[in-house]
Symmetry: D2
Amino acid sequence: MPQATVDRASEFLGGLFTSLTERGRSLFKSSSDQPKSKDELIALGEALLSRRGEATGVAMAHQLLSGYDGAAEDDQLGFLDALAEQFGPDLAELTAAVENFHVSGASPDAASQLLKAAEPRRQELIRRLNLAPGGTASLVRMREAVLTHLRDHPQLRNVDDDFVHLFTSWFNRGFLVLQRIDWTTPANILEKIIRYEQVHAIRNWDDLRARLAPADRRCYGFFHPQLVDEPLIFVEVALTLDRPGAIAPLLDLERAPISPKDATTAVFYSISNTQKGLAGISFGNFLIKQVVEEIKRELPNVQSFVTLSPVPGFAKWLKQERADEASALLDDSARAELAVLDAPDWQDDPERADHIKPLLLPLAAAYFLQAKNARGLPLDPVARFHLGNGARLESLNFLGDRSPNGMRQSHGLMVNYLYALGEIEANHEAFAERAQIAAASAVRKQLPSKPLSSEPRKTNGKTSAPLAIAPPA
Amino acid sequence: MPQATVDRASEFLGGLFTSLTERGRSLFKSSSDQPKSKDELIALGEALLSRRGEATGVAMAHQLLSGYDGAAEDDQLGFLDALAEQFGPDLAELTAAVENFHVSGASPDAASQLLKAAEPRRQELIRRLNLAPGGTASLVRMREAVLTHLRDHPQLRNVDDDFVHLFTSWFNRGFLVLQRIDWTTPANILEKIIRYEQVHAIRNWDDLRARLAPADRRCYGFFHPQLVDEPLIFVEVALTLDRPGAIAPLLDLERAPISPKDATTAVFYSISNTQKGLAGISFGNFLIKQVVEEIKRELPNVQSFVTLSPVPGFAKWLKQERADEASALLDDSARAELAVLDAPDWQDDPERADHIKPLLLPLAAAYFLQAKNARGLPLDPVARFHLGNGARLESLNFLGDRSPNGMRQSHGLMVNYLYALGEIEANHEAFAERAQIAAASAVRKQLPSKPLSSEPRKTNGKTSAPLAIAPPA
Amino acid sequence: MPQATVDRASEFLGGLFTSLTERGRSLFKSSSDQPKSKDELIALGEALLSRRGEATGVAMAHQLLSGYDGAAEDDQLGFLDALAEQFGPDLAELTAAVENFHVSGASPDAASQLLKAAEPRRQELIRRLNLAPGGTASLVRMREAVLTHLRDHPQLRNVDDDFVHLFTSWFNRGFLVLQRIDWTTPANILEKIIRYEQVHAIRNWDDLRARLAPADRRCYGFFHPQLVDEPLIFVEVALTLDRPGAIAPLLDLERAPISPKDATTAVFYSISNTQKGLAGISFGNFLIKQVVEEIKRELPNVQSFVTLSPVPGFAKWLKQERADEASALLDDSARAELAVLDAPDWQDDPERADHIKPLLLPLAAAYFLQAKNARGLPLDPVARFHLGNGARLESLNFLGDRSPNGMRQSHGLMVNYLYALGEIEANHEAFAERAQIAAASAVRKQLPSKPLSSEPRKTNGKTSAPLAIAPPA
Amino acid sequence: MPQATVDRASEFLGGLFTSLTERGRSLFKSSSDQPKSKDELIALGEALLSRRGEATGVAMAHQLLSGYDGAAEDDQLGFLDALAEQFGPDLAELTAAVENFHVSGASPDAASQLLKAAEPRRQELIRRLNLAPGGTASLVRMREAVLTHLRDHPQLRNVDDDFVHLFTSWFNRGFLVLQRIDWTTPANILEKIIRYEQVHAIRNWDDLRARLAPADRRCYGFFHPQLVDEPLIFVEVALTLDRPGAIAPLLDLERAPISPKDATTAVFYSISNTQKGLAGISFGNFLIKQVVEEIKRELPNVQSFVTLSPVPGFAKWLKQERADEASALLDDSARAELAVLDAPDWQDDPERADHIKPLLLPLAAAYFLQAKNARGLPLDPVARFHLGNGARLESLNFLGDRSPNGMRQSHGLMVNYLYALGEIEANHEAFAERAQIAAASAVRKQLPSKPLSSEPRKTNGKTSAPLAIAPPA
C-alpha cells in the first residue's frame, strides 16, 4: 500500500520561499529600478553604509543592485574598482591597531582589535546588499564579473577574497539542501539542468527525460534557500548491473530500463557545477557523499558506487609527450604508431582501434599515475577532484566516449573512480598529505615498464609483451 | 470565488527542509553520540580543522556538537575556554603580518594579509561545525552559554565577537523569511509562541487561539531556513477601529471580533525575540517594516500603524526620582501625593486614580523626553527600540495595563508609538545622529513646566494650571 | 543522514486545496448570503434544477446552502420535507416506465429506463448543491439534520436513502487519504481531535500532546479532499512492549516513552468517527487495515496488532441479567455477591475487587460469546465492529478502565481484539455468514460451565472449579 | 515587497496525495498483478461483490483492475459484456418491485424500492473497484473502452449509462480544483499539456514555454484529487491590448510580451478536454467562468473576455452548399468564384484573398446564424459550446488561421465569442430554451440579404451593396 503520510513540518515551510523565487523577485520591480552611473552606485553604497541606510536598508540595497544590473559595463567596472579602493579597510584605524599590537604585544585582545580594523568596509556593504530580495543571486553574478576582470584589474583580488569569505559562510554546507531532481520537477528548474550540464550535453527535452524519468536513473542537486530556482551543483546517476566502461549505452534513448531492485551499482556519470560566481566554494565532495547515503538507504542492494568519468587533459598531455623528443615514455616506433590518433574517425575502424589500444592504455596509466603538475598532483582535474575526495582510480576504459568531444579531449578514454566507503578517509589523507594516488592493481599493472613501442604485447595483463620501464621525469 | 492557484515554485521547496526539522534531526541520532570530555571535544575540534576533517566533516561536526550537548558543564566550559585560547589566531603568522604591514606600509594587500592572519582559527571551526544537521541550532545554544559565562570568563569576549561576526552573516535579513502564524500553523511552532511570548504572557491554548484565530488578529514571525521550527522573532497585531490605550480589551477572550475590512488601525501590541543565543543580531526593525507592507497590501484601508507598548523602566526611574531629594521634578506635596502608588490596588479606586493621573502623566512625559542614559538616549529600552526604528511617541495611556506586571513596572502606564511611513527615515536620522526624539505635540504638552505639585490642575493640555519648568539634570 | 528528498508531484498539489479550507470558504461570503424562508429555499432548488441553473449553478448552489444554514429551524425542516415530497421522482414518468416494463418484459433496457425514471429529482439537486464551495460540508450537515428528524418525519427516510446513495459514491474509500496526525499538525485540525475523541476524552492540550508527540505514539486519520480540515475518522495507537490490559498506564502523562524500534506491539486504544452526517458510511475497517500496513512498513519489528477496547454494553446487560430471575447464569449467592458492584468505588478496595473478579470475568465471557441481539450477533457494538472486521477476541481485562465512565458502562472491564493478519479473512467470513465469533481459547475457557455462584474458585481457566453450563436465553 | 505568507491549511495537504500519483501507484505493483482471463475477471468481480470482498476489498479491486489492464483485448471485451449482462439488476427482485408498484400504487416508498431494485449490480462493483489505488484512472480507461466498442456492442449502452451516473457524482464540479499551469509546473504534467492540446498543436517544449512562461500568458486546468497528474481540461489564455482576429501573432515565438498590467483583454485561444473516458461529463463551462473570476481578481484592468475560436464545421458545410444546386445562398457566379477555395495556397495571394473575403464572410454569418442541425441548434460544435455557456458571437475573422488545419477545416476562418458577464445568464436561457443565438450586430449585418453573387460589394456592413435575402431551408 503506498506511503501517504509525510513530514508536516516541512510542508509548513512550503510557502515560505515564494519571495525568493524568480516570480517573487519580479513582484519587487519598481519604477526606481533605473540603471545607475558609477558615481550613483558609489554614492548609494556609501549611503547604505551610513546611518541613514539603517532605516531604509532593504529598499536601498535593492536600488543599488538593480541599478548595477542595468548599468553600462564601464559603470559596473567602475563600481567594482571602487569596492577595491574606496571600500577597503579604514587604513588610519588599521595603522593604529597595528601600532597597538606592535607596542602592547600579541594579546588575544590586540589580535581581535586588529581583526576588526582590517575588515574592509565592502564586507559590511556586501552584507547589506544581501538585504535586497534576490540579493544573493545578484551578488553571485557580481562576483562572476569580478572573476572575469581579475586578470586586467588585479586590484580586484582583494574584493574577490571578501566575496569568497562571505560566500563561504553563506553557502556553508549546513545551509544547502539535497533535492532529488526528476521528471516531476518544475520545468523552470529542469531547463537549467539542460543549460548547465557540462559533461555530456543534454540535447533536448527528450534527452533530459531519458536521464530523469526511467526507474533506473537518479539526479540530485544541492539547492540554497536563497537561490531556490537554481541548483548549485548536480549529479546524474545510472543504476546498473555492473560497472560500465562506455557512456553511449547509458545515454541511449532506446535502452530498456532495469528494475532498481536488481541494480548492484550506482554510476555517477556526470557532475556539473552551475554558478561561475561560486567558483572555489566547493560542494561536489559533499554532494557525492550524501547521494551515496541516499541511494544506500533507498536501495540496500546497491553496493558499488563508481563514476564513469571523462579524462579532459589526456589528449593535450599526450600531444606534448609526442612532441617531446626527450620523452622517455615513447620510442620512435610508438610515436609513429600513434599517428593514427590524428586520423579522422579512426575509432570506427576496428582494426586500427585494436592496434592502438595496447599503446594507449599504458600511456593513460602513466598519465594518471606518473604525470604531475607543479604541486606534485595529477595533471587531470577530474582525477584531482575524485582522488581528493578519497575515491580510487578503478579502471581505464578504451573508447568509452566516442563522441566528438570525447575523441578530442581524451581519444575516447574514460575512467571509473570507485567510492569504496571503507577506504575513503584513508585515501583522502594519503592523497592530501603525501599526494599518494589510490589505484586498483589492474590499473597499476597497465603502467608501461619501458618506453612504449609498437612491438607485439598484450594489454590488461592478458597478452601484452613486457614493456620498457619509463618513469616520467 | 476563492483563490485556488498558488506559486508552484514555492511548493517545489516544500519538502526540501525536512532535514532541518526536529524530526529530521532525530533521524540522525547515532550510537556514537556520546557525551565527550573537554579533552575529547578539543581533540575533535583540532581533527575537524585538519585535513582529515575534510573527508568526514559532516560526521565529525555532528559528533563534536552532540558530544558537547551531552557533556558535563565543566567540560562544556572547558571547551569554550579552549575556543578562546587554543583556537585563536596563529599569533606567529599574525606577528609576521603585522611586521610586514609595519615595514611595507598600509597597502591594500598588506591589509588583506593582516585580515587573514588575524582571523581566529575558531571562525573556521565554527563554520565546519555548522556542517552537522541541526548544527546552526546547536551553535546558537553554544553562544547562549558563552553569554552566560561572559561575566566570569572575560576571555570569552573574543569568542563572542566571532559568533556575532558569523551569525551576522548567517542570519542576514536576506536569509530570513516572513511567515504568518495563525491557527492553522503546526502545533509544535505554536507551543513555542506560548513559551517565547515576553510582553503579555499567553496563559494557555485558549488564550493563544484568541490571539491567532479571530479575523481581526495577525501574527507574523521571521524564520530561518536552518532553524525551521523556531521563530526568531514574532509580533502580534490587532486590527482595530482606533488607536487603543489599554491592553485588556485587546486580550479579552470574550470580545467580539470586527471585520478586517472595517479596520483602520493595526496595533502591534507584543513583539518578542526568542533566541538568547542571537542577542545583538537585530531583526525587529525589519520585521515591523515588512509587516506594515504586508498589512497594507492585504488591507488597503488600514492607514495607521501604531504600537501599544509597555514602559518597562518607568516605575524604577520614578522610584529614584522620589528618593532623590534634589530632583527638580517633584516638590514635597507631589512626593506626598505619589505615596498612593505604594498602596496595593490603588488602580481599582477611581478616586485615587483620578487624583494621581494628572501627576503621573507629566512625569511620564519627562521620563520619555528628558530622562537620558549615559549615551544621551532615552532611559526606556522599548522607547530606544521604536524611536531608533523611526517611530514617533504618540500618546501616554494612563492605566493602560492593570496587570500585576504592568502595575509593577510602570504603574500601569502604556504608550503608543506611531509608525508614520512618510516620517520614518527622518525620525530615524534625527534620533541616530542627534538623539532627537520624535513625539506628538500632545505628548510634549504634557511635560511639566515647573516642579510637579499636587495643586489643582488638569492634564492633557485641557485645563491644567501652568507647571513650573523643570529640566532634568 | 536525514532524508531530504520528497515526492514532488505531491508538492505540486500542496496549494490545490486552499479553496476547500475554512479560510477559503470564508472568502466566498457575500452580501447575498441571507437566511431564506422555506419557500425561497424551495424556489431556489427548482431554479437550480432548471435550465437557468446551468448558467449560474455555483452561485445559486451557494445561495441556497448559505440561505439554508442561516434559516430558522422551521424553514430548514420545511425544505427537508419538500425534498421528500416535491423533489421525489417524476411519478408520471415512473408509472409509464413501470407499464412499459410490465408489458414488454424485464429486458435490460426496460430496467435501465426504470432506473432513470425512479431516480428522485433531489439526487440531481444534491449533486448540484455540491457545486458550491464548501458544499460537501454543508450537505453532510444537512443529512445530520435529516437523521435528527427521522423519527418524527418518517417521510425523510427516502431523502436519507438518497444522501446515503450519493455519499457512498463521494466518500468512496478510493477518495479518502490516510494522513498521520502528530504534534506538527496544524492546530485547527488538532482542536478537532480534542473535540471528536469519543472513547477516552482528551482533557486539554497537554493531554493531546502526550498522545501525539512521544516517539511511541501514533495517530492516523482519513481525510477527504473536499473536507480538508475535518478528519472523518481517526485512531490513536500506542507502541508497546506487550499487550496492555489497562488504559491508565497508556494515558499517563508522566510515563517514559520507549524507543519505537523496541516496540513489538501496536495498540489501537481509541477509534472515533467524527461526522454524524456520515453515519452508516463506514471507514473504520479500512482505516485499521491501512494503519496496520503503515506501521508494518515503518517498524518491521512490530508483529502484534491489538486493540484495547471498551465494552460499552456490559453493565447494562449485566443489570438485566441480575434483574432477570430466570437467568440461568446466576444463582442466588452470585446475585448477592454482585451487589458489591453497586457500591461506590469498590474497585479501590483490593479485597472486594479480588473477590468479584472470578465472578465477573466468566460473566463477561458469556456476554461476548453467548449473549446475542435480534440478528443473532453479539450484543456489544464494539465487538460487532472488530469481529466484523475479522479480528479475534483475545482477552478480558478486569478493571482495565477505572475511570468513572469505564466503571459505569462496563464495571471497569476492557478487552483486547487481535488483528492477526493471516486470520482476518476467514474470521470475517465466519462471522458474516455464520455469526461465528473468533475468540482465543483463554477467553472461551472463562465461560461459565454452570450457574455462577460465589463458591470458591479461580479464574483465567487455571484452577477454577467446574462451572455449570448456562446458555443464555 | 514580495508576498511571503500563504495559506497553511493548504500546505498541510501537500503530502496527502502522494498515493494518488503515478509514483505512488507504482509502489503498489505486486507479484499478483497478472493478466487475467475473462472468466477470472468475472469471478473476481463476483467475489468482490460477495461478503468475502468486504474483508479484502482493496487488494481484490487492485487485482481485478491490474488483471484487466494486462488482459488480452478479447478478455477485456468479454468482461465488459459480462458487466452488461451478468452484472445487471436482479431481474427477479426488480420484477417483484414492479409488481408491488403496479399493485400498491405510485407511493414514494414504492418508488424508492423500485430505485433500489433497478440499480444494476455493476454500479456497486464499479464503486468497489474504485477502492484500488489508481482505481479511478483505471475506470476512466475502462469506460473509454466501453465507448470504443459501443457501436459493435450495443448492449454496452447500459454499462455506459452506469459509468456516466457514477462519474457524474465523482467528478462533480465541487470536487475539481482549478490550478494554474505555468513554467514552474512539474514536467510530467507539462508533457501532458503538449500531448492533449487539441486546437493549436504544441510542437515542442519551446512552443510550450512560449505559451506558459511569458508574463502575458496564462494557462489553467481542472484537476481531480484522484487523478492528480492528469489535467481534465485546460484553457490557454493570452492577455492582450485588444481583441485579436488571428492566431499566428499570438503563437509567434518571437513576439514581445506586454506587461500584464497594461492588458485590457483576456483571450481564450485554446480549450482542450483530455480524458476520452470522461466524454459527456462537462467541465468547460465551469472552467471558463472560474478563469474569468481568477483573472478579474488578479488583473482588475482586464475588462474584456473573448475567445479566439476555430470553426471546425465551416468548410464541410460550405462544400455541401456548393454541391447543393438548390442552395438559396449561392448563385452560379458565386459558385464559380468560390472555386478559388480549391486552389492550393490561395490565402497567400492577396488579390485572391481580397476577392473572396466579401463572399466568405456573409457565408460564415449564414453558417452561424442560419444553418441548424436536427435539434435546431447551430451546426458548429464550438459555437454550440460557447453559445450554450452564454457567450455571444462577436466577430468573424477572415484568414484568422492560415495553418494547414485552419485552411482545411474553415478556409482560415476564426471567430471571437465574447463572455460579457452581465449577459451570460440571459444568453444562456435564450439559447437553451429558444435556440436563440446571441450575436453582435456587426455579425448580423454580415448576413447575406439575397443569394450571394460575385458582384462588386463591400463587407463588414460598411459599404456593401444590398444583398438578397436568402434564408436557408
